[in-house]
Amino acid sequence: MSDLFADILIQFLNGLAGASSLFLVAAGLSLIFGVTRIVNFAHGALFMLGLYLAWSLIDLFGRSTLLGFWGGVLAAALCVGAIGVVIEIVVLRRIYKAPELFQLLATFALVLIIKDAVLFFWGAEELLGPRAPGLRGAVEIFGRRFPEYDLLLIAAGPLVLGLLWLLLHRTRYGIFVRAATQDREMLAALGTDERRLFTSVFFLGAFLAGLGGALQIPREPAQLSLDLAVISDAFVVVVVGGMGSIGGAFLAALLIAQAKALCIALGDVSMFGTVVSFSKLTLVVEFAIMAAVLVLRPWGLLGKPLALARGAGASAAPLDPPGPLFWPASFVVLVLLALAPLGGDRYLLVLMGDIAVFALFAVSLHFLMGPGGLVSFGHAAYFGLGSYAAALVFLRLDLPAEAALLAAPLAGGAAALLFGWFCVRLSGVYLAMLTLAFAQIAWSVVFQWNDATGGSNGLIGLWPAGALKDRTLYFWATLVLCAGGIFFLWRTVHAPFGLALRAARDQPMRAEAVGIDTRRVQWVAFALSGAFAGLAGGLFAFAKGSISPDTLGVARSVDGLAMVLLGGVQTLTGPVLGAAVFTWLQDEIARNTEYWRAILGFAILALVLAFPHGLGGALKRLRGAA
């Protein structure tokens, strides 16, 4: 019995150490969001940078001396803080006034750039850092050995929490920070220099990210995939805790780390005659917690409702119905695109087919984000579930691809109905994060369910027979279906439903007062958007002949967001343009340079800084000026 107790205690301590690590990253993210309202996607990249810098600086200062180690950790964190300042001054300061999500796109570009910079300076091989001098060993706790360094980490989390609390509640600077977090007008009344405040908060947030990374050096080898892994953890912690709430972040970190430790401790458990592998649940436990918390507490554990506009559209310009030449001109473009295969370049066919599919995907996402004002971070779920539904009907029911394609929008729409029902009850970043949580849960089911979905390998052999076997015909079918879907969604935006959807976005109270059931309208919008994303996914499956869980992974959702934002949220044609430019850029740059990520990042950054309203918006202005 005491053995069991000791095992449980050790896992509890493991959970505490994990919680501290999570909290350190999340605290900076929460702080930056609270003050600047920027969702800093590059926070994970800053963490990674902290880890790499610590590795090098400790090497420089002396791996085995106390001063070398801790000096290196501190210097690394300070460097990352300084990099944060540079980012704020050079990039973010220029776009605070741009639509909210544009800053997300800019920080996404930074992720790409930082990753390639790290690859360039440190190389691809993982780097295992030194153990901390004096804390190399373990202590005996009830006959179990527990790492000394983890004890230090357990103390570091609450220590940083306490210092932050003192800073925020016992200094003049803290008053400004809290004012900015809670009440913007009060900030203006206090007469502070907002620019300096933002810069300093960015320093502090980046410093904490860097510190979080550097402190992991004895536990975690520096490697290139940390940025995305960490950012997703940090987002979850911040949202579960309540955005802007440091205490909430601590609580959330504790909850998530302990839940993970518990799942691992349980391992395989026999229940009702089958073996349930709790250790496999670690894949998704944090997202399951996030979904549960957000459904029950729409602003996180300790968060307060934010007066945050839902999308970027509240102050959008009117969305006029297209002029008399628009549809004919679109039709001509479509016909010309359809003629492209006659040039005989089969690859052009494939690339244009991809662009068509992603254009429909982006337009379906834009339908939610733009007119709906509902930002989805997990839109790939509908795309992916659509492709899996089509694939399963094709492979398991042995129906032709033409029939299987019907299953795609149905599955995408059904999933969106289910997820959307919960999501429309939230708003802003919380809504976005709930869509992400659902998407991750869907992903993990697809990833785990080997018998049905082929697990991590996915499903292969999805090549249509019959008429669609011919790739030109398949391209035409893709073009017609995607254009048809885009056409339908555009019509819907200008139909009474679109008007009601925009009304619900602009002024939910007013919309209710004229009899519009805003939640239901938004729910239907989710379903429509999901259905067309699903159709895009189905077309994708048969174009590639195979699908894998990546089809509904975060990366695809992020790609979709990048396409929409690049094209511009405020115009209808923007997402199509964004999808084309993004897909083409990625294809073209990736083929011509090794550092394509950084180049793509710089390209996005340049576009963001030059056209803060997206490509579509820029074109519109150009037309307006001419």
Partner: protein, 253 residues
Amino acid sequence: MTLLVAHGLRKAFGGVEAVVDVGFAVAPGEVVALIGPNGAGKSTCFNMLNGQLAPDGGTIRLGGENIAGRPPRAIARLGVGRTFQITATFASMRVRENVQAALQSFAGKSYGLWRSADTLYRDEALALLARVGMEDQAERPCGTLAYGDLKRVELAVALAGRPRLLLMDEPTAGMAPVERLALMALTASLARREQIGVLFTEHDMDTVFAHADRILVLDRGRLIAEGSPDAVRNDPTVRRVYLGAGTMYGEQA
């Protein structure tokens, strides 16, 4: 025949009683003002009528039907139009589209996915805008309008549901004096011509005494006086309540 009858309305927030046993009636074509010092419970009262808040007790009958606790959109569909204290229009739409969105909603066409919204009830929308004197600005984006004009757009939107009752929360707040009187004159004439009952809250006593047929006075959640403008002006309780909060109409100058 009364249009709206509230009876025994109660609402408390965390033990603090905001509205206690309030009852009143509004007849068709009647313009009724609800006044009282800050914190008197005007907004709470209003929000129970329009469905934003569910009362803890009491009934609200609209044409005989109890609407207490129903959601705002259901109440709107029963013929209750509404304007907001801080103007709430659909900023990304043109003026005409604001009214069209309301008309389409009331006609049950908001789930139409295909047909263009641009032409649906366009003429009706323009006619409503003409009634509030905004037909010239029908094509301007709402985001670019002057404050007074926004108020009139709101009125047109509120009228789109052919309301039997108009609830107006501080309809003239933030407007210049001339504009105030014009808007309320417009409202009162519409109400009388079309037999719409109007209940409004207001801080500006000039407006209240100039246009209200009847006045309800709230203080600390209770109805302390009710009657014609003259009766209320001379009511000693009202005078006492307002003594600290400012002066009553007619005592100035």
